[in-house]
Symmetry: C2
Subunit: 203 residues, 2 copies
Amino acid sequence: METISQSELLNIAVEKFSQLPGIGKKTALRLVLDILKRDENFVFSFAQSITNLKENIKYCKHCGNLSDQEVCPICQNTSRDQTTICIVENIRDVMAIEQAQRYQGVYHVLGGLISPIDGIGPNDLNIAQLIERIETGQVSEIIFALSANMEGDTTCFYLSKILKGRDIKISTIARGVAFGGDLEFTDEVTLIRSIENRQPYNG
Amino acid sequence: METISQSELLNIAVEKFSQLPGIGKKTALRLVLDILKRDENFVFSFAQSITNLKENIKYCKHCGNLSDQEVCPICQNTSRDQTTICIVENIRDVMAIEQAQRYQGVYHVLGGLISPIDGIGPNDLNIAQLIERIETGQVSEIIFALSANMEGDTTCFYLSKILKGRDIKISTIARGVAFGGDLEFTDEVTLIRSIENRQPYNG
């Protein structure tokens, strides 16, 4: 280990911090020296909050979202439409959609996308759990909210084959020019697709 | 607390991280999600390293430097010149000088500079301990390595008055144009002072 300080404990803390993404040795040292100056209360609750991430955060047994309980607050929430499932790649996507505070259904977090190049197949994803939810017969609509790339398309295709023949409405989120987006700064593929998929104008 | 995720524990960890300097909410979330993916080993030793900062790091009772023991490795090191004390503002300065691996004396960390504007007087600094070290009669040279600003100058002046009348050599680190530094990019004060304080040329 590089010698930064005469305190080996400080060097270890710097080393740990610098293993986090985007944190170099200098930033790590700055953070550690800042923590040194904090009161005990902050330092211990900070360390505890990190331990909690590993010890006490669970994945919701229904949807795979992060949760402090066995079942996440969204799946527990009876005022949400539990029959509409929005399928997303990861928990960041749930956060993004929840941030908008409009979607009233529930989620299913796949934990990745099918990607033969990276060796990720359907069995590596949280798909068995999705099928289990569908088998209950209480799902009326599935919305695919996956990335518009090869992996996303492959995953949509795979899942739609599984869902075929069931009485479930399947949809995918709309693609097109972003609201407030400038046409001239929109990429060509999005632009052409948004023309092809034009919608009736309801004035 | 802002709702970022359905996991309150995750939100707390993000909140704690975002209290560190230069870490915003988005960066904090990125760090926390990264930690979530790490193995237990890393997470627990990371949390422990933070707790250690508060529980087990001490300040050397001689020089005020950070140390895992009562006396820091530099003050314990008998192969270093224990009669030459370099006076610095803080532990970062010790790190900087030690990084250069040339200075063979020891240090004294003041923990700040005298600054009437900020309400910092001599009693707020680690000066009593310095006097105690000097009274042992085992100090032959004091080197001021303080910032070249009003606070640094005030502190130098104050300490030099205390040291007056003792058989101790007092010096201050050289100021001037940096080695490898371009004259044209050196600030005016440094440039003029470096001409005034010119040294005999030894070819």
